[in-house]
Amino acid sequence: MRKTAFGKSFATFVLFPFCVLMAFPFGWMLLTSLREQNTIFNGPIIPRKFTGAAYHEAWTSIEFPLHFWNSVWITSVTVIGVLVFATLSGYAFAKLDFPFRNTLFVLLLTTLMMPSTALIIPLYLELKSFGLLDSQAGLLVLYISGSAPFAMFLMRAFFQTLPDELVEAARVDGGSELTIFRRVILPLTRPGIATVVIFQFLSTWNEFLIANTVLRNTDSLPLQPVLFTLMGQYSTNWPALTAGLTLSVVPVVIVYVRMQRQFVAGMMLGAVKN
């Protein structure tokens, strides 16, 4: 469509109500979390009085800080772990020459799209036999190994955009491969690293299935499984429930808003390079 005046007003006319619809669930979430508990059944749709009581309740009664920090901890370790594995192997696949490079790469690639839904049974059994069931360590191993191949794929794409001459020149100067990687290559791949970090942060923070399956001890749970249990326990205490949801979303929205550019670039790269 051309950017005529008519086109613009037509687009605005269609998109505006659509955006209202799309934003509605979040608006409703905020509104409900600020309500008084006794007004959710028969109070007016827009509450007359706002209160932060539900946030206080969610914060204290479900040990929100504990689970929040579990999520922060699990996500941080996963992001760092994935980054180490993915940059090393992504660089090797992009810039180093070694026998069977392509075979190994294709092998990693073919299983890239295997969903955790399909692998949850063997993964559970595997952790069980290693004695890692019900431990955050086990969860971290699964997270890192599940995400490293895809992140490797992203990083490889970034490394490929760097000219080969760069690496060759550094070799001539006599740097070891590890030194070249650390001193020459890594500083140039900041955008790639930022992308992997954001992508990994979001997917780990939001992961539910594996965490809900392999962790049983309530104290070690990250936020997503807790929100799920909360839904059962607080089925009528909507303000506390929506307050919990809102709090869990805050980090994600902050990261998105602050790093929108890398984020969009990352999504694009991840998708289009496929």
Binding site: F26, L88, S89, D97, S116, I121
Partner: protein
Amino acid sequence: MATALSREDVVRRSGERTSYRFGSPLRKSQRVAGYLFVLPTFALFLAFVLWPILYTAYLSLTSWGGFGAPRFVNFDNYSRMLHDPVARRALIVTLVLTGVTTAILTFLGLVTAVLVNVIWPKVGVVVRTILFIPGIVSFVVSAVLWKLIYDPNIGTLNRLLGAIGLDSLQHPWLADHKTVLPAIVVVTVWGGLGFNMLIYSAGLQSIDPNLYEAAAMDGANTVQQFRHITVPSLRIVTGLIVSLGLLNGFKAFDVIFVMTGGGPNHGSEVLGTYLYSLAFGTTSGSIPQLGYASAFSVVTMVLCTLAVIAQLWLTRRADR
């Protein structure tokens, strides 16, 4: 460290006259470094990706409750699947949900991308953010949120319908066989639209504007330009969006598990939720059916592989 040492050794041993042009010492250090750099990822991949795939394929040929040794039963689990009405329902629901969601998401993604592109950059950022945020919150958050909206008694949807006098349309949305699947489609589309719009936007921006000018000079109107320039230029992007839609549909779990648990009476059961309840039991006391559940894992994996192949095929065709 080992790489660094080997490299230095090579230099020291051959002294000043070492020449990289002869290649072999450099080649060797590259080879060592290559394997060392790849090794950690590959080891994890073998242990926690490849092995589970093979193991679940093996388990699907056994009958196993989790204790003792799995009993080999050949393809019994697969033939049992054919006679299990819940399994059939789960497969059909998975395919239908996937097909419908993918079609809607592809269409709406393209339309919103075109519209956002037209008003870009004035309000485009705002619109893009609004459309995108549902896609970055977790499936659990969106499922809980929509469950509150669909709640039969105090749910937002029914309350709003009541408020505008449409009491007759009030409905137990998630408890009715007829409405539960459309309700799930709405949630999935809500969450996935922003991503598709984003990718289509990128695709649109990469189309040469001269094409439109040339077409306009030849007298093509907006609709014709859309059909003969925009749509064909986006073929690769569309292939990608369709195959990602298929993948997401085949592996669907979180939203349905949280919102309906596969209910009412298996009405929204998909492969993921069914295999999960077979293996990890939603009803306490039942023996896990790990062999039978694994057969559904295998079916899911086959479907996902087909989706990937479909994308490769679509991309290749678009290249020609």
